[in-house]
Each structure stands twice: as structure tokens, then as C-alpha cells.
């Protein structure tokens, strides 16, 4: 079988039936995406792909293959970002086979041509899937970075008093981040009192306590005093039964109590107007 000839005949066939195939292909894809993308948008994307597929098949130029994969990657990444499922993304490519098959089904002499197109579409489908999952992984990585940053805000409560409300489980990586951020803020704001609020920390075990103690002693080395606030009854019981000693670190039930302590130590008093 003459492969080059086969591909070129398929290219010629696709060129001749451009409107029919693209129209049917668009219908199939548009039915799959159900209104999340407009029909015109789908058609525009598919026209681009179609033109590139024809160029690759007819071996018109050597850049076509590269352009096709680049366009396909871009399209798949877009689908991944817009929240399409992997099936919906891959079907977008595979349905080209269906669109073409409907036209060649009656003419047996085009079978080898259809077979070679089918293999090409399969490759493109796999390519789509790879690009899709790469894009998804990138999104997940970005999100976990963003979450790590979001989860450790340092807020200023008063002139010279800052607070770190901790939400979620404390592990070594997060403690490190919290510690660095807290110390940096102490230095930049010149605050000499820091409140670490653990209301949002679900459990305090020996490891978490160790992390907290490290943060407090690092802050002390900078010359700032730390208070730990937001200790819930459950947590207090756990701390005592585990035998964790916070030593001379002040602990308070609520952030308000900790702020009151910080103000008192700064020689300030809150009076009614």
C-alpha cells in the first residue's frame, strides 16, 4: 500500500468535502460541550485544526506537524482550564473520525484512506489527553501554592502588635512558612508583640506544639514576645494529657484576651469614651 499516496488522497478528499465534514464535526463537538462554548467558537477552533490536518496529510510543508501539535496543545490546555472533562476534550478530536466515516461509509474504495486518517486522529487524541493532564497538573500545583500563601496571613492588630491566625493542620512545611513570614513581618513593622491564634488548628499534638515552640523562640531571639491564643477546651485537654509544656509562653483563650495582654505590656489601657 502506498502510504504517501493514501494520505494525499485523504487530504484531497477532506479538501473537497471541507464544508460537510467541518459542519458535521462542529455539530458533534458542540453537542458534547453543551453551551459552555458557542457554536461559532467551536467552529473557528475546528476550522484551524482541520486546515492543519489537511496540510499535514498532503505534506505541503514541514512546519504543519509542529503547528498542529502546538494548536492542539493550546486547545487542550484551554479546555482543562475551562473545566471540561478529559472525555469531552478527547471526543472533540475523535469525533472527526465519525464525521468523515459518515461520508466514506458507502464508498469501499476509500477504506485505506480512512484507516490512515483514523490512525492519525488516534495519535492526535492521545496528544490532546497528554496536554490536558499536563495542564490539569499545572493548575493543581498553582492552587496548592496559592493555598499555602493564602493560609498564612500576618495581620496587624495594633501599632506594634501583629497576629497570625492559623487555619488548618500545621506541618513542617507550613510552620516553616509561617515562621519566616512572622519573623519578616516583625522586622519590617518593628512590632514587638506577636499573637499566634490557633483557633483554626483542628488538633494540637506534640509535633504541632514543637513547631509552635520553635516559632515562639525564634521570635524571642528577634526581641519580640509571643502569645498563643485560641486554645479550645478540647485542645487544652489534649495538651495537658500529652504532657506538653508551653513553659513561660503566655497562652490565652481568645484573640481578644491576647490583644488585651499585649496592650497592657505596651503600657496602654483601653478606656470607655
Amino acid at each position: 500500500m502506498d502510504v504517501v499516496g493514501t494520505n494525499e488522497r485523504m487530504a484531497a478528499f477532506l479538501r473537497d468535502n471541507h464544508d460537510k465534514v467541518v459542519g458535521r464535526w462542529t455539530d458533534l463537538v458542540a453537542a458534547g460541550v453543551r453551551g459552555r462554548t458557542s457554536r461559532e467558537e467551536v467552529r473557528r477552533e475546528l476550522e484551524d485544526l482541520y486546515a492543519l490536518i489537511v496540510r499535514v496529510l498532503s505534506r505541503a510543508d514541514e512546519h504543519a506537524a509542529g503547528e498542529l501539535t502546538a494548536t492542539l496543545d493550546e486547545l487542550s490546555r484551554g479546555r482543562a482550564r475551562d473545566g471540561f472533562s478529559p472525555t469531552e476534550t478527547a471526543v472533540g478530536v475523535f469525533s472527526l473520525k465519525e464525521a468523515v466515516y459518515e461520508l466514506v461509509a458507502d464508498s469501499a474504495e476509500l477504506a485505506p484512506e480512512f484507516y490512515s486518517l483514523s490512525r492519525m486522529v488516534d495519535d492526535l487524541g492521545l496528544r490532546t489527553f497528554e496536554a490536558y493532564s499536563a495542564a490539569r497538573e499545572q493548575i493543581i500545583a498553582d492552587q496548592s501554592t496559592a493555598m499555602l500563601e493564602l493560609s498564612t496571613p500576618v495581620v496587624q492588630l495594633w501599632d506594634g502588635v501583629i497576629a497570625v491566625p492559623l487555619v488548618g493542620t500545621l506541618d513542617s512545611a507550613r510552620t516553616q512558612l509561617v515562621m519566616e513570614k512572622l519573623l519578616d513581618t516583625l522586622v519590617t513593622t518593628g512590632a514587638d508583640h506577636a499573637v499566634i491564634d490557633i483557633t483554626g488548628v483542628p488538633t494540637v499534638d506534640t509535633e504541632v506544639a514543637q513547631h509552635l515552640l520553635k516559632t515562639v523562640s525564634a521570635a524571642r531571639l528577634l526581641g519580640a514576645e509571643c502569645t498563643i491564643s485560641g486554645i479550645r477546651p478540647q485542645v487544652a485537654q489534649t495538651i495537658v494529657s500529652l504532657g506538653i509544656e508551653f513553659g513561660d509562653i503566655a497562652t490565652k483563650a481568645s484573640l481578644a484576651d491576647a490583644l488585651a495582654l499585649a496592650l497592657r505590656q505596651a503600657g496602654l489601657k483601653v478606656v470607655p469614651l
Binding site: 515562621m179 518593628g190 520553635k214 525564634a218 524571642r220 526581641g223
Partner: protein, 117 residues
């Protein structure tokens, strides 16, 4: 070996470390400081380590020793301007520098010595 200068301002000795600390320099500083405290009868020592980027366990321990020596001369030691990275290193080394007071900057260090806070 580089020597760290000790400046006397009123009743306070001011030491600003501007070099990468070597073990010998710290030992020399400790000796010089003891001599100076004996000679001047100063009541406070401020050690500014803003420019110090690297500390090891030996230097950490020597800082505590300097604090203990000063206390024998009835002088309080305040370590000022420690960088966050240095604080994290010392904590990881398990050094809490007991006996030495710390402050964010020289101004706050002076306030501590003058009994304002």
C-alpha cells in the same frame, strides 16, 4: 584576624558586628568586652548583629557566654537586629540564648537598658 570595635556611649558599651564572625574574632571580642566592662563600669552592653548573616552553634554559645560575663559586671546584654534567617538557624540548633535579652533594633535595645520597657 579582624577585631570588633567597642564604643562607649554614656553608661553603655556598643558593639556593632560588621564582619563575618570567625571563632577567634568572637573570643577576642569576649576578652575585649570583659576588659572594657572592668575599666568603665558600664551598666549595659548592646550587640548589634544586623549585618551578621551566618551564625553557628559556637558563636551562638559565645553570645550566651558574653551575656553571662557581662552580668558578673552587673551589666545587662541586649542583642539587637537579629535577622529572621539567623533566628531560625539558632532555633533549629536548639539555642535560645537564655540570659541575653533581645530587641528588634538598637533604639528598642537602648529603651530596655534605660528601663523604659
Amino acid at each position: 584576624m579582624e577585631r570588633v570595635p567597642i564604643l562607649k556611649i554614656g553608661q553603655t558599651l556598643f558593639v556593632s558586628i560588621q564582619i563575618d564572625l570567625q571563632d577567634e574574632s568572637v573570643i577576642r571580642l569576649q576578652e575585649d568586652l570583659a576588659d572594657e566592662l572592668a575599666a568603665t563600669g558600664a551598666h549595659g552592653v548592646i550587640i548589634d548583629i544586623t549585618a551578621v548573616e551566618i551564625v553557628d552553634s559556637f558563636i551562638g554559645r559565645m553570645l550566651t557566654t558574653i551575656g553571662s560575663i557581662s552580668r558578673l559586671f552587673d551589666a545587662e546584654t541586649v542583642l539587637v537586629g537579629m535577622r529572621p534567617a539567623v533566628a531560625i538557624t539558632l532555633t533549629e540548633l536548639g539555642l535560645s540564648l537564655s540570659g541575653v535579652r533581645t530587641a528588634l533594633n538598637t533604639e528598642k535595645g537602648l529603651e530596655i537598658l534605660n528601663g523604659k520597657s
